[in-house]
Assembly symmetry: C2
Homo-oligomer: 345 residues x 2
């Protein structure tokens, strides 16, 4: 396992607020504190184990079932903390860009705190996700299909309407909130008299991975990322020594399409991460099917990417007890049907 | 709500053993005691709530997710208690007939206690279920397609090989074990500061329903059964004043195909049950889809039948907090794919 850089991680940017009398947000103690603040306001999702799946894997797989979280993903955690802080600061409203889960989470959290919310999504966003956001009363703006087009709209809304942005990867509240999923997992494994050798996180912009690095500080637990081979943004960043934009190919893992790791997640994770699994599309699909059939959970392809990484880690014989962040369950049923129909014999 | 017949229910047959110093097995105290005996040996399955599903239902739905149980169904509970008792009595081995979940559960429990097990299934049993039973080391005999043919083989094996039968509906350990699922549910709702108005159970042979009647004794909770309209065995029994064999039509709810309620479940439940929902095939399919998409759980059609009953109860405005036994998750993926592909627009 690689060296940890210490208990307290660098916090960056104007959002890196420290509460008086509380530990720095982006530290091991800070994310444990975040977990206490968030308790009772998010679903205490179960950790699911499947004898059948573990038999296939040859290792114990502790699946943190955040597909059962409010809003259908762990992104609810960070959104709630970020919106809570902005509501306390009398924010006139929030704006966020996202292709999916972060937008749903921000919309739900803003509704809960009575804040106006504008979510900027691509024109090809899943209609079900758009409907879901609108159901909260939030405003949806759909523009273009690129990140740059969405960011331009966010910048404009910040200036013309005075809205506060909640960035999915750069906002420290968001990263600390996402970390609480791993903190929960560690507590639940401990309560079951288990002990993890490793955790595997899906990597899009990197907030889950950074959160896991914070959560596991000081423990002998290897932290692995898993990303689609179609979008190897973490692999490229680690090779280049910093975030770089990669040429993304199509992937069913819509939640992992960001073609560049966030700077903050990179800063928090690059010294700590034990390795990265790059997962082919067929392996993502197979992991989704295996979890559906054997663990009886509907998960989205992003979560399946982490499961596929865990199966690779188990096959390598490097870990007996592997925690997996099953990040979400927002998946179109037509995709599920086609994956079930076209499974290998 | 109808009158309860008291804390201690009649126990019938040679299997109705009472442990010295312990409450009668088939009583409110007895099933709570069974829950303590079984703790740590079955999965403490979560109670899952879905904001989206509850929004559609207009009521709070507390889904006891026994699809995440060992062996894929709540039948593990009763099988474990029954096999434990027989193992303690130096049984030479066990035999059970079943079309599915009970057979899987008995095979797993027997393997755990080192007992030989013979499971008698129909020739048209799901190959996946047969494979799963064989994987435990148990012997599988497939004969005919009727209950009578399977029972004849069980009787023969009892006499020629001295095996002890574990009947899915008449064995008191089995019924008490199945009751622990509802006891767990009540504890979990209580721990979440909730309070159930009603519970809905899927009805095949009736063990889940009888267990719920035992578990809720003395509490102001209505107990409802839900059965396919294709196999209205409970409805017919309540009308006739005792178990009768009904003309069964085909149903996707393979776990609810018994065409006659067991005598023991009938005796335990008939005074208590508040009502029965008979569910059309299309409503079973729709409930399965709704739970998959909104609660992100893969459930089998038998469990979906209970969910459909809960949705009807909610629509009637008769209950605000409804517990549902999501009895299992052993479903063929090709069925799921076809249900997802052919959903209403």
């Amino acid at each position: 396992m690689s060296q940890r850089s210490g208990d307290v991680f660098m916090s960056v940017g104007a959002n890196a607020v420290t509460f008086a009398g509380q530990p720095p947000l982006l530290s091991h103690d800070g994310v444990h504190d975040a977990r206490r603040r968030i308790a009772g306001r998010v679903v205490h999702t179960p950790v699911v184990r499947s004898e059948e799946l573990e038999g296939l894997a040859g290792a114990r797989l502790w699946l943190k079932a955040e597909n059962l979280q409010r809003g259908g993903s762990f992104k609810m955690r960070g959104a709630l903390l970020a919106v809570e802080r902005l509501a306390g600061a009398k924010s006139p409203g929030v704006v966020a860009q996202s292709t999916g889960n972060h937008a749903i989470a921000v919309a739900l959290a803003a509704a809960q705190y009575g804040l106006a919310a504008v979510l900027v999504l691509p024109t090809d966003a899943a209609p079900a996700k758009v409907t879901r956001i609108r159901d909260t009363g939030a405003e949806v703006i759909q523009v273009g299909t690129t990140l740059a087009e969405r960011i331009a709209v966010v910048e404009e809304l910040k200036h013309t309407r005075g809205l506060d942005e909640i960035d999915p990867y750069q906002n420290p509240d968001v990263v600390a909130g996402q970390a609480t999923a791993t903190v929960d997992l560690l507590h639940q494994v401990d309560a079951a008299d288990g002990r993890l050798d490793a955790v595997v996180l899906p990597v899009g912009g990197g907030s889950a991975l950074a959160g896991a690095c914070l959560a596991t500080t000081g423990q002998d637990i290897d932290v692995y990322g898993a990303e689609p081979s179609a979008v190897p943004a973490l692999t490229a960043a680690l090779q280049a020594g910093g975030p770089v934009t990669v040429d993304a190919r199509p992937t069913i893992a819509d939640g992992l399409r960001p073609d560049r790791i966030g700077q903050l997640p990179y800063d928090l994770a690059h010294d700590t991460v034990a390795g990265v699994f790059t997962i082919e599309e067929s392996a993502i699909a197979q992991a989704l099917r295996l979890v559906l059939v054997h663990a009886r959970l509907l998960i989205e392809p992003a979560a399946a990417t982490a499961v596929a990484g865990a199966l690779r880690l188990a096959a390598d014989g490097q870990a007996r007890d592997i925690g997996v962040l099953v990040s979400g369950g927002n998946v179109d049923t037509s995709l599920v049907a086609s994956l079930l129909d076209h499974r290998p014999a």
